[in-house]
């Protein structure tokens, strides 16, 4: 078709592609075939084997190389005379500033995470460059067009929050396998191998400021090094009150599941020839386990668990203390799989294979080549309209798995900008916060960075600069700001009190917004984890090395909320307990959210896409949409065509267990207004 007018618009255009992955490869190919001659492409990633099933510009020999560069070289083979410039870099780097963005006629996103999407959205708004945004998961996908002042920006609409779970579900009443995974990954793994100073999303902290009066006497309160005998656990299990309304976990004894030889000899001997720190360390070969899709029984899981724990200790000791879970870390995946399965067994939840567990723990995106190819085609169609300034023809298009009213590709007219959007409409936000109990650090980390997605923030109160980051700060300023971080808001040099108005800016994103502070009188900050009890009981006589390792590791960090119990070795019974429960009866997180409420905008989750986290189980910030009058006016969505029924799970769908994950990775699906992060 390519009319003359269209061809000249294409030829003269300078486009920026962000992302050279699944969508990016297809997009670069289709752009080049369509006649685009000046394409810049940014991607910080390198090629992995699991990319090769869909990122068709890459070959096995390219594994480890820059995606942007290899994609460029591959496309130049069939279109040698066009200009493609590649940047092996993070789009959030300071060199990609507003001036950099201004040189382009259109920006095309093929990203995999919300954070970068928001960042690019802001730069496009600041540079006044049109943005075509896209996303895919499995057979679903969508393309949207964002033009400042004409259509909504990427952040005008609520994005579905990552699937999260109440803390108690994770710590005490798991009913699905994913709960066990979150427990194994974010509690067990993080506590054993992670950074002890790092709060994780589950917020398992022992130093919580206020404990609720509602809590019942914890029968397991005891000093950290006091031994717990198995009988106490059995006593707890026999407490009918505790288990009246929940499924009683079944304790698992190592003597019942592990071969006798193993429990006698402190684990099997490790004759692995792998070097320290090798992320490919694996216990599967030594246990004769080959197929990651195979379902392991309790014995196999227990063996993997013990062996993996030992192997971390034996081979990767140096990393312990600063490990974070990584789906490409084989040993970590084995450990988490086994731990989750043992816990699942204890709670009567069906077990899963390593392959499945890895997908859940790593939030692995379901991805196929076809959807990416379709979406890339749709992006180019929109890009051409943008270049021709065919404003009336812009469409947001959904690629559906199941047809809706005969449509598999469903175009919808773009929505108008949301006047209540704090990103593109500069609407002030309202923050309800306990100014006497929240520190500036809480504000910076939980609100400005996590909620507002700012990269290099600056906070001003009146004329007083309370906080900023940057390379050009002198030591005194840095010390000053660091001191401020630890102060309560009401005790800052320029105190933040009820009625204060803050200016929060990100100079790179050229985004500035006002926050009206309302002091919040919730004095009791509830932390349900504080009275959860977590047991990992290992007999020192059977696993002496492990015993000392765990003991050394946890002595100073595991206080009342986490009790690591050791049998004194006099008991005949070897016990490996992997369960935990909390004593709070009917803790109501709905009614008593912690700390802060930010309103006046549509909320977004902290992460999504491949980097999505299923573990924001207790995000302490509660977000609700503004109740101001502007809200109704803002939803000027032209609903001339039906909403796509992407979530029409009632018709037919994938395994229900996967639904959670599907939602997480569905970054742009528009959802309804009020979403809480819990």
């Amino acid at each position: 078709m390519a009319t003359q007018q269209q061809q000249s618009a294409i030829k003269g255009a300078k486009v920026l592609m962000v992302g050279a992955g699944g969508i990016g490869c297809e997009l670069l190919k289709t752009l080049a075939l369509s006649g685009f001659e000046d394409i810049h492409i940014i991607d910080m990633d390198t090629i992995e084997v699991s990319n090769l099933n869909r990122q068709f510009l890459f070959r096995r020999s390219h594994v480890g190389q820059s995606k942007a560069k290899v994609a460029r070289d591959a496309v130049l083979r069939f279109r040698p005379h066009i200009n493609i410039r590649s940047y092996h870099a993070n789009v959030k780097n300071p060199e990609f500033d507003v001036d950099f963005f201004k040189q382009f006629d259109v920006v095309l996103n093929g990203l995999d995470n919300l954070d970068a999407r928001r960042h690019v959205n802001r730069l496009c708004l600041a540079a006044d460059v049109p943005l075509v945004e896209s996303g895919t998961t499995g057979f679903l996908g969508q393309v949207t067009v964002h033009i400042k002042g004409k259509t909504e920006c990427y952040e005008c609409q609520t994005k579905p929050a990552p699937k999260t779970y109440p803390v108690c579900t994770i710590t005490s009443t798991p009913t699905k396998f994913v709960h066990c995974i979150v427990w194994a990954k974010d509690l067990l793994f993080a506590k054993l191998f992670g950074d002890k100073n790092q709060d994780n999303d589950l917020n398992v902290r022992s130093n919580n400021s206020a404990s609720s009066s509602k809590e019942t006497e914890d029968v397991f309160e005891r000093s950290e090094d006091e031994d717990i005998e198995h009988s106490n656990i059995e006593a707890a299990l026999s407490n009918e009150e505790t288990w009246k309304n929940r499924r009683r976990p079944r304790p698992i004894y190592s003597k019942d599941v592990l071969p006798e030889s193993l429990t006698q000899q402190n684990g099997s001997t490790h004759n692995c020839s792998v070097t320290d720190g090798d992320s490919m360390v694996s216990v599967m070969p030594s246990l004769g386990l080959k197929n990651p899709q195979e379902l392991w029984g309790l014995t196999q899981n227990s063996l993997v668990f013990i062996e993996a724990l030992m192997l971390f200790f034996a081979k990767r000791k140096k990393e312990i203390g600063h490990l974070t879970f990584d789906k490409d870390d084989q040993l970590a995946v084995e450990f988490v799989t086994a731990a989750a399965n043992i816990r699942a067994e204890s709670f009567g939840i069906p077990l899963h294979s390593l392959f499945e567990a890895k997908g859940i723990a790593g939030n692995i995106v379901h991805a196929v080549a076809t959807t990416n190819a379709i979406i890339a085609g749709l992006i180019v169609i929109e890009a051409i309209k943008v270049l021709k300034k065919d404003v009336d023809k812009f469409r947001m298009t959904y690629c559906l798995e199941h047809p809706s009213k005969k449509l598999l590709l469903m175009p919808i007219e773009p929505y108008e900008p949301n006047p209540a959007c704090y990103v593109c409409s500069k609407t002030p936000l309202v923050l309800e916060i306990n100014t006497r109990k929240s520190k500036l650090r809480d504000l910076v980390d939980r609100i400005v960075k996590a909620k507002l997605g700012m990269n290099l923030p600056l906070i001003m109160h009146g004329n007083s600069l309370l906080y900023e980051v940057g390379d050009d700060l002198d030591d005194i300023m840095v010390a000053n700001y660091n001191a401020n971080l630890e102060k309560y808001l009401s005790e800052l040099p320029s105190p933040i009190l009820n009625g204060s108005i803050l200016t929060v800016e990100d100079l790179q994103q050229e985004l500035s917004c006002k926050i009206n502070v309302k002091h919040r009188f919730y004095s009791e900050i509830l932390n349900p984890v504080s009275n959860s009890v977590w047991f990992l009981i290992i007999l020192p006589s059977t696993f002496p090395k492990l015993f000392h390792f765990i003991k050394s590791r946890n002595q100073d960090e595991l206080s009342s909320d986490i009790i690591l119990g050791f049998s004194n070795g006099l008991i005949d019974l070897s016990i490996l307990y992997l369960f935990c429960f909390c004593h709070r009866e009917e803790f109501d997180e709905e009614k008593e959210p912690e700390g802060m409420v930010l309103s006046g905008w549509t909320q977004s989750p902290a992460t999504n896409g491949e980097s999505a986290s299923t573990s924001n189980n207790e995000n302490p910030v509660d977000v609700t949409e503004s109740s101001s009058g502007s809200e109704t006016a803002s939803k000027k969505r032209k609903l001339s065509e039906p909403e796509p029924s992407n979530h029409n799970k009632e018709t037919e769908n994938v395994e229900s267990e996967d639904d959670d994950i599907m939602e997480v990775e569905n970054p742009m699906m528009v959802s309804k207004k009020k979403i809480r992060v819990e």
Partner: protein, 320 residues
């Protein structure tokens, strides 16, 4: 679990898609054999998609010699004259596709598609025909339908920013999950001949205009003895005349087929790469679905028009 397990290599390479369709489906894919004829932009896209997905084998058929026109929307052909001169489209595409996935057996076959016998088609699970005359499509479809085994039959035709996919699965049984139940479903597909020569009168008015427009162009090329896709704007008056006759013959209003649409189709002999990517993507998805036995297949036409951006399924089997 049927058959042998996936190898470690397969599991690593196909990890992300196994998470979409499962290991069983992946195994079935790796045992399937696909015949592809007539490789222009859309079919090149399709080939890329199924080779990446990991079908067992792909057999390519296209004896045209490579010319500069051939790589217009076909990224499988590198514009290196030394490499392509004297070679056929199938040969060059075969070399490129092999690189995409060493685990898929890609080969070529020479000859005229319409002259192959039933035995030839029996070797395949899927036959995809692009860039062919109506007569050839019809002949191959009949042969496939006469086989005892099911050979999934597809035709694809892209003109400018518009495209059509035709699907014939004969009768197709599949299961779908409805809430907690697994429901057995069966679909009956009409043949290509039945589907393209159905009387227009009973077809609902809201049916995609492209269905009718494509029939006009198809018939025009046949009666004029043109190669598929070989028309231009100068043919428009005669195409419009044929449309008038067809509409009268079917006793439907001429408004059934907008002249502007026919104009776009006749002048659309250069492919529009984004439309190729989209239609090749949908076709790839359909073939994967049918081989793997997962999900409800499209029945029995799919249309895409970049002008309005809609991708529409038309089931014209009940109205015959």
């Amino acid at each position: 679990m049927d058959g042998e397990e996936l190898t470690e290599q397969e599991t690593a390479l196909y990890d992300r898609q196994i998470r979409v369709w499962g290991a069983g489906a992946q195994r079935r894919l790796s045992k399937s054999h696909v015949l592809v004829s007539g490789i222009k932009g859309t079919v090149a896209e399709f080939c890329k998609n199924i080779v990446l997905a990991g079908v067992g084998s792909v057999t390519l058929l296209d004896d045209r010699l490579v010319t500069t026109e051939a790589f217009n929307a076909n990224f499988l052909i590198l514009p290196d004259e030394n490499a392509y001169v004297g070679k056929t489209v199938a040969e060059i595409c075969c070399d490129s596709l092999k690189e995409f996935n060493p685990m898929v057996h890609v080969s070529i076959e020479k000859g005229d598609l319409s002259t192959f016998g039933v035995d030839f088609f029996e070797k395949f699970d899927v036959v995809v025909i692009g860039y062919s005359s109506r007569a050839t499509k019809k002949a191959v479809n009949e042969k496939c339908r006469n086989l005892a085994k099911r050979v999934a039959f597809y035709t694809v035709d892209c003109r400018g920013s518009c495209g059509e996919i035709f699907i014939d699965l004969k009768n197709y049984k599949y299961t779908k999950k409805k809430l907690d139940e697994t429901v057995e479903c069966e679909l009956m597909f009409p043949s290509f001949e039945e589907a393209v020569s159905a009387p227009w009168k009973p077809i609902p008015r809201r049916t995609a205009k492209l269905y009718f427009a494509m029939r006009v162009i198809e018939l025009f090329e046949e009666t004029e003895g043109r190669k598929p896709g070989e028309c231009s704007l100068s043919d428009l008056p005669r195409v419009l005349k044929l449309k008038k006759e067809l509409c009268e013959g079917n006793s439907v209003s001429e408004k059934h087929i907008p002249d502007s649409l026919l104009e776009r189709l006749v002048s659309g002999n250069t492919e529009f790469p984004p439309a190729c990517a989209i239609i090749g993507g949908i076709l790839g998805q359909e073939v994967i679905k049918v081989i793997s036995g997962k999900g409800e297949p499209l029945k029995n036409f799919f249309y895409f028009d970049a002008e309005d951006g809609k991708g529409v399924i038309e089931d014209l089997s009940n109205k015959l």
